[in-house]
């Protein structure tokens, strides 16, 4: 009946938080991994997010902005900053993630540019400022209202700078031909580059982001309060009949037993009392 529910993207949020201490003792992050079809067979053991809460990102890294000008993070990270590692030609998840940002940014009560900035940074060293520019145009159109252009910058860079950044935040990705296997998350740093919070998944609650930015402005380190497990999976219940058979059998046994019990009670009636 529900045959071939292919490629159901199921995002389940577990409103569960982890303190920094607990993260350290936990095994490496569960698969917040976006499987591209062609990458399905390759090992993804190195891919993942090892949270580095409280660590600093190097601010001397230089990238190229969407106008082709060279900028250093020093110049851009002047206050609380949201950083989204993406690649602009990603066939889906990065788009969801950036669209998620474009949806939530206008809902924040904080003033862009003054109280926070956003940086999308491509981890594909072959991407160009032109791609960044067109991406910027897309998502500014998606915001759909006045938003200061300097508040959300779209950067590209060389492999050296990219890796120094992604390694410092524990964001591990892997190239698969044209595409990448990569975690789906953004993070927030304070003005001095301290990582204060990670936000998993592709859609963000205004509250989560505001909290992270407020923490960043106060220099407080937060915890990852809303972990997302993101799967991209194919699911065919007809092939998984044993589970359903198990349930069907158990349910039938329960109901038949209960019905037999009721019938027995009704048929035998009240107990004859002794004495």
């Amino acid at each position: 009946m529900y045959s071939h529910l292919m490629a159901v993207i199921f995002i389940m949020s577990i409103s569960a938080g982890f303190s920094t201490g607990a993260i350290a003792s936990n095994p490496p992050d569960p698969p917040h991994i976006h499987h591209h079809p062609q990458a399905a067979e390759t090992t993804t053991s190195e891919v993942g997010l090892e949270e580095q809460l409280g660590q600093k990102i190097p601010l001397d890294l230089s990238f190229v902005d969407e106008q082709g000008k060279s900028v250093t993070l020093q110049e851009l990270v002047t206050g609380p900053t949201i950083i989204a590692p993406v690649y602009y030609q990603c066939p889906n998840v990065c788009n969801f993630l950036q669209a998620g940002l474009a949806r939530v940014l206008p809902q924040l009560k904080l003033t862009p540019l003054e109280q926070y900035r956003v940086l999308s940074i491509s981890f594909d060293e072959t991407e160009t400022p032109q791609l960044a520019e067109s991406s910027k145009r897309n998502y500014f159109a998606a915001i759909g209202r006045e938003y200061p252009p300097d508040a959300w910058r779209f950067l590209t860079g060389d492999l050296h700078n990219i890796l120094r950044l992604t390694d410092s935040v524990g964001y591990h990705f892997q190239r698969q031909g044209e595409d990448f296997i990569h975690p789906v998350a953004i993070f927030v740093v304070s003005g001095d580059g301290t990582i204060v919070r990670y936000l998993h998944g592709t859609s963000f609650l205004p509250m989560d982001l505001s909290l992270a930015l407020i923490e960043a402005s106060k220099g407080r380190i937060g915890a990852t309060i809303r972990k997302m497990a993101t799967f991209c999976f194919s699911y065919d219940p007809q092939k998984k009949t044993y589970v359903f058979n198990l349930l069907r059998v158990a349910a039938t046994v329960t109901i038949v037993t209960a019905a037999a019990f009721l019938t027995f009670l009704i048929v035998t009636g009240k107990k004859r009392r002794q004495g």
Partner: protein, 541 residues
């Protein structure tokens, strides 16, 4: 019909322990009244632990940011608060305590059908409770999944989920066995004259509850077994990487856990239905409507589990059907409320403590029930899902509903159980404090939720500070009221003045016995000649 065979000063079943002396006479007693009291002591102890955890949770939320604990500690705390309150207090609470003590007496029997099975249920309950408590201090630390144990997190977290789940699994059997026992007892041990139309409505509610326990609890057991298989054997039932379906867990879990909500509330409604006619001195309005609304709630309530999952990913048709069924449950619930109010109409109402609790039950349950409809309609649910609104709603139904009914039951029946009366003035003051504290605590939560404050967060945005502070202060007021109430009840039970056989003027069979009843309830099985609420035909013994 009055059977005061023992002298008024006797301590009845409290002193007469049968085969064994002392403590053994209690923990190996098959007397349903003693078993009921064993449950009472255990359940109340766990309740107090749960209250303490709840107070700490509220204290953490008194101000934004990390106030007294880390996020991980907070997660563990609200999980353990939930597990203890749901599985150890509110599900077994009323049936296992008042059901055990009064079900046989109400139908004129000397015990339940299977007294030894009854004792075994208590032992299972205690073993399960100890396993759950042990899970807090062993393994990878207390579980942090929330009481719903949702996969995939519960299959991955390093905390001590398997042990807690195993404890809940055993608890399920205690619940099923009690259900079987009660159903059999109602069918087979009714005294002559106690036909189905003369069953006290408390018994009807217990009967409906027992069927839900029998039918739904096995689902919980199966679900938990599957979860253990997932965790320990890597079965992949809920893991999409191995072809499983994480949503299936939510379905299975709620197929039990939503009916469980009716396991929690129905006996509470039963107590309220006992109290109101007694203190209004009127026959209950709409006996059969109330009796069948219990069955109706149990039946319809078993088909609404999907309303917990409107945002989990379901077809629009499924959402529509579950939403409709949820609204249908409101009908038998409203029938009860209207019948209670109609019973009060032109009654001779005395506002003794049990009645105050029953009346506040109606008020709080209405708020809880109507906010439930906001959650049950798909469109509004999307906005308030996973916010403090849900927490507020849930506590209005479970604490304001079942909790207040439970306290009403305590005030109603404690004089019968102990033979002594508590101080009614202090009980009334304690009720007032609790009622005020309760509303301050949980109404603030609902407003917070409407404004977007999520549940299960140890932190929040600065704009939520004021109401969170109000809510936390409410928790202190409520706790003060609880403390006063328990101290008063305890003092009353130990050294209050003798209560007499029938302090409230009730017509059900327990009031024909001495207080406390003797070990063998009825020396001669009574022949019942009138209904339990026939105030227009007979006057109370």
């Amino acid at each position: 019909m009055t059977q005061e065979t023992t002298d008024p000063g006797s301590r009845g079943f409290l002193a007469d322990g049968g085969k064994y002396p002392g403590l053994l006479g209690w923990i190996f007693s098959t007397d349903h009244k003693r078993i009921g009291l064993l449950y009472l002591y255990a359940v109340l102890s766990f309740f107090l632990v749960g209250v303490a955890l709840g107070l700490i949770i509220r204290l953490e939320l008194i101000a934004p940011g990390e106030t007294i604990m880390s996020a991980q500690a907070y997660n563990a705390l609200f999980t353990v608060h939930g597990v203890i309150m749901i599985f150890l207090f509110i599900i077994p609470g009323i049936p296992a305590i008042f059901g055990n003590i009064f079900l046989p007496i109400h139908i004129g029997a000397n015990d339940v059908s299977f007294p030894r099975l009854n004792l075994f249920s208590w032992w299972l309950y205690m073993i399960a409770a100890l396993i759950i408590l042990a899970s807090l201090f062993t393994g990878g630390g207390p579980p942090d999944t929330g009481w719903t144990f949702y996969v995939p997190f519960s299959a991955e977290t390093t905390t001590n989920v398997p042990m807690a789940v195993f404890g809940v699994f055993i608890l399920g059997f205690s619940s099923i066995l009690t259900g079987i026992n009660f159903v059999t007892t109602v069918h087979r041990l009714r005294a002559p004259g106690v036909n189905w139309g003369r069953l006290p409505l408390f018994i009807w509610s217990l009967y409906a509850t027992a069927w839900v326990q029998i039918l739904a609890t096995p689902m919980l057991a199966i679900t938990l077994v599957l979860l253990l298989a997932e965790r320990l054997l890597g079965a992949g039932l809920f893991d999409p990487a191995s072809g499983g379906d994480p949503i299936m867990f939510q379905h299975l879990f709620w197929i039990y856990s939503h009916p469980a909500v009716y396991i929690m509330i129905l006996p509470g409604m039963g107590i309220v239905t006992e109290i109101i006619p007694v203190f209004a001195r009127k026959p209950v309005f709409g006996y059969w409507a109330i009796a069948f609304s219990s069955i109706g709630i149990a039946a319809a309530g078993s088909l609404v589990w999907g309303h917990h999952m409107f945002v989990s990913g379901m077809s629009d048709m499924a959402v529509l059907v579950f939403s409709l069924l949820t609204f249908i449950v409101a009908i038998p619930s409203a029938i009860k409320v209207f019948n209670w109010v109609a019973t009060l109409y032109k009654g001779s109402i005395s506002l003794d403590p049990p009645m105050l609790f029953a009346l506040s039950f109606i008020f709080l349950f209405c708020i809880g029930g109507l906010t439930g409809l906001i959650l049950g309609s798909a469109a509004t649910d999307v906005h308030v899902h996973d916010t403090a609104f849900v927490v507020g709603h849930f506590h209005y139904v479970m604490f304001g509903g079942t909790g207040f009914a439970f306290f009403g039951g305590l005030h109603y029946w404690l004089p019968k159980i102990c033979g002594r009366m508590y101080n009614k003035r202090i009980a009334t003051i304690a009720w007032g404090i609790m009622f005020a504290g309760f509303n301050i605590l949980y109404f603030s939560m609902m407003i917070l939720g409407l404004r977007g404050m999520p549940r299960r967060y140890y932190d929040y945005l600065p704009e939520y500070t004021d109401l969170n502070l109000v809510s936390t202060v409410g928790s202190w007021i409520l706790a003060a009221g609880l403390l006063l109430m328990f101290v008063n009840l305890l003092r009353g039970a130990r050294s209050g003045p003798p209560a007499g056989a029938n302090p409230w003027g009730g017509l059900t069979l327990e009031w024909t016995l001495s207080s406390p009843p003797q070990a063998e309830n009825f020396v001669n099985i009574p022949v019942v000649e009138h209904g339990p609420y026939d105030y227009d035909k007979v006057s109370p013994p």
